[in-house]
Subunit: 147 residues, 4 copies
């Protein structure tokens, strides 16, 4: 099974939300499982997109209550570990798609690159090691090849 | 969705293995999802039982490589956190079934009771707060009611 | 350097508080460093005792703000990991003294015994593997020998 | 008490090692406590510098054995949490000095900036939010003011 991670901010603008939604759709259409932080913003949009196409979604939550997950999470994993949960997403995903530019996203990108995993970025940090992609289609097709 | 946690040792005798296998079967037959530590022993037996009945299994692994999971895990969550991963199982499950008597299992029982979750025990520690059950059938039916 | 861990509940009665205070005094008089969870109850009492004798105290806090520590902590380590911080106390201490009977304390006892560390108990759980002690003096002298 | 965090790679060149050593000296001369990841490279150099000036050093280790710490750590905190230990350094330090350019360091910088803590960089990533400093003297004096 392919598991693709989607990382990005919890508060994002409409354009970014739409990109994340499209990324989620494409992951689901490819029969891959989507893993993310399970909360709002990019995470919610990607899950909503995945569920619109019948995909499966896993949310690695910062809190200790599974009910904190957004409504499009199939499997809410309640870590109770705060930001440390970011590393679980990185370890579990086979490749990552990074959307938006928060510091939390940067920490996940850094952990992913440290772990030797491929990161495909759309509108995110310009860090040595990221493969910048012009569209959700390019990012997801790359992420699938490198899993 | 109901998520039932199965906790128990990674090295167990045949009788305990068979009990865990039966617990896994019953969880799957009840359409509940099984969550466990994803490794050998009780964890493997329960997952094998669940998959024999078409159930879904989540493994919360101590290591950072999803490939460490036993072969009957559908969703291997690689935490890289060692024993601290035990708390994620407790936080995520709605109720717990404890099998066997190791110290790791005791730590999970303690965390579950501290979190106010019900623990149904078969051949495990006799700790104030655990509901001791005589069979897998009783343990699973209780666990389902209390989720 | 010897590092002794003191584990116990955050809400305790006067008798238990006094025992923990005495344990802290004895650890400090032995030139050992005291490590604990850094919060109230047994943790606070032990730290207060240690500081009364000029000892050094380390608090491994559940939250992410060092200011959450009790006032008798020299080095507040802010983990942000909730209950998972308990394992850090166990890994860092050379031996443990357990006081009182909460489930959090039980989880720490279980982790310590799983890690092969000695646990000296005063008025705590009666678990196979714990060495029950009749007084703070006996507990601390044992803990020092086994570090 | 002031606690300054020093973050940087575990394998670094001579020039970087010397910078970290000088940073450690200056922290100790300022009566501040140094916290770091407790291992080799920048961490070792900074601790060695701090101990050369009679300072106090805390190491937040990735492994579960305090004996893994470098020889200049006074208080080895054994987390057993792997890279997740990075967040503990960030939460505990009042401000951070970042030296060198690895991805692990980048993840710590990102977490620090996300937490609203000041990061003073010498020869490290050029990330929005870092204050770049030309010398150990400037970095440490800034870090002390902002604690």
């Amino acid at each position: 099974m392919k598991i693709i991670g989607v990382i990005g901010g919890s508060v994002v603008d409409k354009k970014t939300y739409d990109i994340a939604f499209r990324v989620g759709q494409l992951i689901a259409e490819s029969q891959a499982t989507l893993i993310c932080g399970g909360m709002t913003g990019v995470m919610e949009a990607a899950c909503k997109g995945a569920k619109a196409k019948g995909g499966i979604t896993i949310g690695i939550l910062p809190g200790s209550d599974p009910a904190d997950a957004n409504l499009w999470i199939d499997y809410p994993i309640a870590t109770g570990l705060g930001h440390a949960r970011n590393l679980i997403i990185i370890n579990t995903a086979q490749s990552l798609i990074a959307i938006s530019q928060g510091y939390g996203t940067l920490s996940e990108i850094a952990f992913a690159l440290k772990s030797g995993k491929k990161v495909y970025g759309i509108g995110t940090w310009d860090i040595k090691g990221i493969t910048t992609c012009d569209s959700p289609e390019i990012a997801v097709s790359n992420a699938l090849i490198n899993t």
